[in-house]
Amino acid sequence: MTNDKTIINQVHHVENPVLEVHDLTVSYDKKPVLWDVDLTLPYGKLIGIVGPNGAGKSTLIKSVMGLTPNSSGYVKLFDQSLREARGKISYVPQRESVDWDFPASVLDVVLMGRYGKLGLFRRPRKADKDIAMDSLRKVGMEAYEKRQISQLSGGQQQRVFLARALAQQADLYFMDEPFAGVDAATEKAIISLLREMSAKGKTVIVVHHDLQSVTQYFDWVILLNMRLVASGPVEKVFTTELLQETYGGKLTLLSDVGDLIRQQQFPNREKTPDSKSG
């Protein structure tokens, strides 16, 4: 834990972390997007990454998975290199990142979760199909197996993406805004599924934009705004002071943040479907 006079931050480190990010800096076209992020995360927790638009939340998980080149720093997962840990990590991209008019069925998409395990040239077998169907059942989409993906609602698309990640049977899951633009029923279904996963010892790292549900949903929270403001147990780091530091002038309802935290037992979960992260 560090405490600086001018820069307020609070980073809790853990022994034997599931993910260790060391001095990570990422830039696009020489403009830094993430600056010197240094954190460790515990096993088996539901972890939220929170920050304003353009804070680098998606970039953080993408660069941890090696999808964007890092300017400097390194990442260790399960105390291994990314290459060694690849088979144990899964990813749920933002729903809008793919073309949902693609000629594919729900089962086709979920089976993609098995591709990594199959390796080159091998086709999915019955065992893989069983796992895919099982994953669909877990997200309540087993009846949609043969449906073309363009016929799905936003919430159903999100459930399919989640089922694909589940089919991977990974240990560490990265999810980019899984609650963006989904209906309330889907949001509830997803969060109870994530809880179930974390109860089984899986680690789930979620990019999240809705401050009101943070204390309800997550065990651990990362506050990010280009630099790391805080990382730690929700009850310790989800404070007015650290949120003010994270959102700066961008949070228009800054004075309400304290109220939000107090009102968490009566959450207002209205969503804007088009909200996006940076």
Binding site: L67, Y115, P124
Partner: protein
């Protein structure tokens, strides 16, 4: 016999082009196929000038290198120069094609390539250009063997790389996240498009390769909701295009390749109007 050889060659070309075209249109890279089909020209000429050989293997290698170079240049101008993709495609392939045209005209005496033939092709000559072995055995049309060999390569590529191609086309970010190289499959696909294009050159010409690369897959896209069906429908459409194109050309006493491409366009128009799910007519009736 000649009719059969021409229809067979046309079908083979249409199938190879169509199968690859399915991936191109879903990757929003249809015009990259266009670019490659033109930009391989200097590769063919340079390969010929360097080796002096006009055999298919030399030409395919030359074209393959230029094809992959083309996609590399398109991405390079797009990423490093911040040029829009379509502008980048336009600059790259016209420039490379122009170099090919200059090379042909400058070395016209030495190169047994005709500009008209490169552009428009002449499938009617297929039965005339025979493969004769050294012992004098007549093996049949040479183009039939080259296009046939390329079709086999394409089929093996799609069969064995099916799931990788499918995933990198649908969701490249997820593919990278689970350790499937999007760059590798991208360049393999571009290489496949290059060799298909060059093999199809002599049969249908550069411009009509584009029609076979895009029109049947675009038609199949409107007619199907499943990727495997889309591939199968494209194959069926390719055969239909070749067959009916030939007989329409005979009936009109016109260009066979032109008739094939026209049929491909007409079939697309019909699918656009009458497709069961997405057709305009159905939508009007439902309204």
């Amino acid at each position: 016999m000649h009719a059969l050889q021409i229809i067979l060659t046309g079908s083979i070309v249409a199938i190879s082009c169509g199968l690859l075209g399915c991936y191109l249109i879903l990757r929003r890279m249809a015009m990259v196929g266009d670019a490659i089909s033109h930009a391989v020209l200097p590769g063919i000429v340079i390969a010929f000038l360097l080796t002096g050989a006009r055999d298919s293997a030399t030409m395919v290698i030359g074209a393959g290198i230029l094809g992959v170079l083309t996609t590399f240049l398109i991405e390079f101008f797009h990423k490093k120069g911040r040029l829009q993709t379509d502008a980048s495609i336009g600059v790259t392939f016209t420039w490379l094609f122009a170099i090919g045209v200059i090379l042909i005209s400058a070395f016209a005496g030495k190169v047994d390539l005709d500009q008209d033939c490169v552009l428009y092709g002449e499938i009617a000559y297929v039965p005339l250009d025979l493969w004769i072995t050294e012992s004098g055995l007549i093996m049949g049309p040479r183009v039939l063997y080259t296009t046939g060999a390329v079709l086999v390569v394409i089929l093996i590529f799609i069969l064995f790389g099916y799931k990788e191609l499918f995933l990198t086309t649908f969701d490249p970010a997820y593919a990278s996240a689970i350790g499937i190289s999007t760059a590798l499959w991208h360049y393999l696909l571009m290489g496949a498009v290059s060799i298909t294009t060059v093999a199809s050159f002599e049969a249908v010409g550069a411009i009509l390769v584009v029609a076979l690369l895009i029109a049947p897959p675009a038609t199949a896209y409107l007619l199907t909701e499943n990727f495997k069906f889309m591939l199968v429908t494209t194959v069926a459409l390719g055969i239909l295009v070749s067959f009916s194109g030939y007989y329409i050309a005979v009936w009109l006493d016109g260009s066979i390749a032109g008739a094939m491409a026209s049929v491909a366009g007409i079939l697309f128009g019909m699918a656009f109007l009458f497709a069961p799910g997405s057709g305009i007519i159905i939508k009007v009736i439902r309204r």
